[in-house]
């Protein structure tokens, strides 16, 4: 069964979403950023349904975006934003950060379920591709600033991804990437990559 993390501070809504999905998926709930981070550590989550207005700053998207950035830097799960925060800037920021979909409350159940199915399809396809040694990376780069920046971003993104997959095992990561350990250390220094407690 696929795992879905519901990050929603409104308990009544959270329970109703849970009820509508729990026959098909395993549901994990979180009311705030802290609980979401803990839930991600403890479970292998496939999809996150994320509200952006979380306590203690319910009227701003800050807490939700914090969760989004935390997820996308560390986990392979797809994030569907389901929020009442309506500004183009927030949607842009969420999509730019790598959210899979952005749904405005109140969204129809059909829309939510459709988005969920698509996210799972993407996730499964990416997993299959990974088994064949193909990793999907996404980059945010400004076009027109030269190809070196693009190359660096791509290098950084794939190195970080592999390091996380191997739990920061440099030997194993170098092997997967097909480079020498020394070269990997060079890149780590170049990109200023350090292991954090959360990784």
């Amino acid at each position: 069964m696929k795992f879905i993390l519901l990050v929603e501070d409104d308990i009544a809504l959270r329970k109703q979403i849970r009820f509508s999905l729990e026959n098909t998926y395993s549901i994990v709930e979180a009311r705030n950023e802290k609980e979401a981070v803990d839930a991600l550590k403890l479970n292998k989550i496939d999809i996150v349904i994320l509200d952006l207005g979380l306590p203690p700053h319910e009227s701003t998207p800050d807490e939700g975006l914090k969760v989004l950035h935390h997820i996308l830097g560390r986990y392979d799960c797809k994030v569907i934003i389901l929020t009442g925060q309506k500004t183009e800037g927030i949607a842009l920021e969420a999509i730019k950060s790598g959210a899979f979909d952005y749904l405005m409350k109140p969204a129809s159940i059909d829309k939510i379920l459709y988005s969920l199915e698509r996210a799972l399809l993407f996730k499964e396809t990416e997993e299959q591709l990974e088994k064949q040694g193909i990793k999907k990376i996404s980059l945010d780069v400004e076009v027109g600033k030269g190809l070196q920046i693009l190359r660096d971003e791509a290098d950084k993104s794939i190195i970080l991804r592999i390091l996380r997959d191997t739990n920061f095992n440099v030997y194993q990561s170098a092997k997967i990437l097909g480079v020498k350990r020394e070269s990997l250390y060079y890149f780590l220094r170049k990109f200023g990559v350090k292991r954090t407690d959360d990784d």
């Binding site: 409104d10 308990i11 009544a12 809504l13 329970k15 109703q16 979403i17 849970r18 009820f19 509508s20 026959n23 009311r31 705030n32 950023e33 802290k34 207005g53 306590p55 203690p56 700053h57 319910e58 009227s59 701003t60 800050d62 389901l82 009442g84 409350k105 109140p106 969204a107 129809s108 159940i109």
Partner: protein
């Protein structure tokens, strides 16, 4: 020529000086009286720029200011009045980010000492008008800001409610087994108190006013310990509750008081590590005291804590504690706060029973 022969000149010159001084004193007093009259007029008109400009001319005429002209622009508003006489005016112009003010006065005389008095009158009039413009800009900006804050809060809750109804409708149609039905009901039982509190909060926000006590028939006996345990459980607070007590009051009001206080502790616990909470209930025949202490950081500006629309929280509306205190006051109780380096303590004092 002897000294005696020039005495009359001295006396004459002295008399002239005295005469001039008396005249200047007369003019100055007249000008000051009119200036004070202008200031009073502005105050009495509640710093309303439009009304002030339309009513100030008769006051200025008393000090020989024939006419007043102006061009005032602020926040896309424009107030203009041309000179109605052809005489020369004295003008002052100021342009800043949000506004532009150009004021001109047309004095009847502009000779000698009168010129300086005219300048003083213009400067004071200009200051009064600039103050009115600034007040207007501040009020407009703050109103827009607060309105948008309030709208954001209500929209957040209203959208959640609409989404809740959307799911509820779908779920009701998809209860296919007895087990699912049971679970559906248990979810509703678990969450309806929170929905009810949400509804109360929305109404509270929209009816933002001084709370008044209501008829006794709406009141019931409330076990405070059980209620506080429930609220602390909702917020999953690390909280110990000692003592017991009950109160006869409207339940939603009591919940509103303590929900607002505990929400503050909860918010703090999300940003600070290991925040714990202790609640002590003590009661006598007439009053009940609930002391809620947390181990979080102290309050930044304690004196402004209960001020409406004041919040140190990003995007905060600053209404919760203001409402809580309002409710407590309406019940002839009070809420006090003590902020120390070791944490914050709220002391809620309420009468155990209110007469009709």
């Amino acid at each position: 020529m002897t000294i005696e022969t020039i005495y009359p000149f001295f006396i004459f010159a002295g008399l002239i000086i005295i005469g001039v001084l008396i005249y200047i004193r007369y003019l100055t007093r007249k000008a000051i009286r009119s200036i004070l009259e202008c200031i009073d007029l502005n105050t009495n008109l509640d710093y309303d720029l439009h009304r002030f400009l339309s009513e100030v001319t008769p006051v200025l005429k008393k000090i020989n200011i024939h006419d007043l002209c102006y061009e005032i622009n602020y926040l896309n508003n424009s107030l203009t009045q041309e000179k109605t006489v052809s005489s020369k005016s004295i003008e002052k112009t100021l342009e800043r980010g949000d506004y532009r003010i150009k004021i001109g006065i047309v004095p009847r005389h502009s000779r000698g000492e009168q010129y300086y008095l005219n300048i003083i009158v213009l400067e004071i009039l200009f200051s009064l008008i600039e103050m009115d413009v600034l007040i207007k800009i501040k009020i407009i900006n703050e109103t827009f800001y607060k309105f948008s804050q309030l709208q954001t809060f209500i929209l957040h809750d209203a959208k959640n409610l609409a989404q809740f109804i959307e799911f509820l409708t779908y779920n009701v149609r998809h209860i296919d087994t007895a087990e699912r039905q049971e679970r559906f009901i248990s979810y509703l039982k678990e969450t309806l108190p929170a929905q009810s509190r949400r509804g109360t909060n929305i109404i509270g926000l929209l009816e933002l006013k001084k709370e008044t006590d209501v008829k006794t028939s709406d009141k019931g006996r409330i076990d405070l310990k059980a209620m506080l345990e429930n609220l602390a459980k909702n917020y999953k607070l690390d909280c110990t509750i000692t003592g017991e007590g009950s109160i006869t009051a409207e339940e939603y009001k009591i919940i509103s008081i303590f929900d607002n206080i505990l929400k503050n502790v909860y918010d703090k616990s999300l940003e600070e590590r290991d925040v714990t909470c202790k609640i002590e209930i003590t009661a006598d025949e007439n009053n009940i005291k609930i002391v809620i202490s947390d181990t979080g950081s102290p309050i930044e500006e304690k004196t402004r804590l209960f001020e409406p629309f004041y919040s140190t929280k990003k995007g905060g509306l600053g209404i919760g504690l203001f409402q809580a205190k309002n409710i407590a006051h309406a019940m002839k109780g009070d809420i006090k706060v003590l902020s120390q380096a070791t944490g914050v303590t709220f002391e809620v004092l309420l009468p155990t029973y209110q007469e009709m």
